[in-house]
């Protein structure tokens, strides 16, 4: 059973392979994403994030989920050497960079709690897999061609409960300037995909690694339990030393 809905400004996919999958359980998963969107969207006035940014909620009244996200964001900032920050120059927060992977991972845990073993949950190209696909094989995940949305340039096989996330832009050719430094071109690197122990870990480190540009792949290389595949603007890819274990 597989369903796609458009939530949090992106396509969200839930596929449950187990024979006893029901529409009710699929609905439960999408309801969770709806909840996350309502709570964390910086673009919805009624979200907790907006209320915090507008000074309407005191820190002691933050919800438990909000406190957890802020803690995780702080931890990621430290681990990524400052290349990850949810606070902008005006002191406003936008935790989306941590919320996406966290939400997918939590949704996948929900699927597991309902009692399913073989499934995947995806939001906007970041994926958590569990068990096997409908052919009883490892999940076959394509890495999108950043220069052509309809193509893939690599296939990775995931047979443990793992996550894969990609950070980058498909934009090609033209100049992308760093908004903070208009003379600096941002896109030596156009995409970096990270395989990790779960999609939350993969997503936050993919985001940080992309911000580091060509140093990003070295950052992933140094993390144990993670592999990465980085594509530069000339269509050349660089991979971490054990990445190919996932391509055979």
């Amino acid at each position: 059973m597989k369903e796609t809905r458009f939530l949090m400004g992106m396509p969200v996919v839930v596929e449950i392979v187990d024979a006893n999958a029901t529409q009710e359980s699929i609905n439960k998963i999408f309801d969770y994403f709806k909840y996350v969107d309502e709570k964390f969207s910086p673009f919805k006035e009624t979200s907790e994030v907006s209320k915090i940014n507008n000074g309407l909620i005191k820190e002691k009244d933050y919800s438990q989920d909000m406190q957890e996200i802020l803690k995780l964001a702080k931890q990621t900032k430290e681990e990524a050497g400052g290349y990850f920050d949810i606070t902008d120059n005006n002191g406003k927060i936008n935790p989306s960079g941590i919320v996406k992977g966290w939400a997918i991972f939590n949704a996948s845990k929900l699927v597991q709690e309902i009692g399913f073993k073989n499934y995947y949950v995806e939001a906007g190209g970041d994926i958590q897999v569990s068990g096997k696909n409908s052919n009883g094989e490892p999940w076959k995940i394509g890495i999108k061609n950043p220069f052509n949305n309809s193509e893939i340039v690599k296939i990775v096989l995931l047979d443990k409960n793992q996550g894969i996330a990609t950070s980058g832009t498909y934009v090609r050719g033209q100049h992308i300037y760093n908004p903070k430094n208009r003379t600096e071109e941002m896109t030596q690197i156009v995409s970096i995909s990270v395989i990790g122990p779960n999609v939350y870990e993969a997503d936050r480190f993919a985001t940080a690694a992309f911000a580091m540009q060509k140093e990003g792949i070295n950052f992933i290389e140094k993390l144990s339990g993670f592999e990465g595949y980085m594509i530069n603007k000339n269509g050349m890819a660089t991979m971490t030393s054990n990445f190919e274990a996932y391509t055979k």
Partner: protein, 154 residues
């Protein structure tokens, strides 16, 4: 139903923008764009529909020269806003006025001894997959912002 309509509209916007892109790439004189030269992907593999969708527009609707600022669009990670530069009736450059990114102000990382990592030219794969990992949210916002910029240039 409204959701479906939105989806269709979004897809359509994307096809149009992508088509514009194809035209833009073709109109860019040789050498200006190293990506095209080194990429293993054959440009002719680009979906025919996208070419067809754009063909009438490129002939009939020559853009008016100038700079056009697109809407600021929610990419979930942040806002994307582009400016389209039209010269000689053609899209000649796209500038990013806003782009989601994490703070890069602090810390340059020290480089410890690392193994030399393997590199390869990317190549299109044809096998079927269960799911695709890619950065979709930024490109959707990019498409929306660019199409709103270009709608002012027609």
């Amino acid at each position: 139903m409204a959701g479906n309509f939105k989806k269709i509209l979004l897809s359509l916007t994307f096809v149009v923008v992508f088509g514009l892109y194809v035209i833009y790439q073709k109109n860019t004189s040789g050498g200006a764009n190293p990506v095209v030269d080194t990429l293993q992907t054959n440009p002719s593999q680009i979906n025919n529909n996208q070419d067809i969708a754009m063909a009438p527009m490129s002939k009939k609707n020559k853009f008016k020269n100038g700079q056009y600022t697109g809407n600021s669009v929610d990419a979930f990670y942040g806002l994307v806003q582009v400016q389209a530069i039209i010269a000689g009736g053609k899209l000649t450059d796209i500038k990013f006025l806003d782009y989601p990114q994490v703070d890069d102000a602090s810390l340059s990382r020290s480089n410890h001894a690392l193994p030399i990592l393997k590199s390869e030219a990317i190549q299109t794969q044809s096998a079927n997959v269960n799911a695709v990992s890619g950065a979709t949210e930024t490109s959707r916002a990019f498409g929306e912002s660019l199409s709103s910029a270009l709608s002012q240039a027609i």
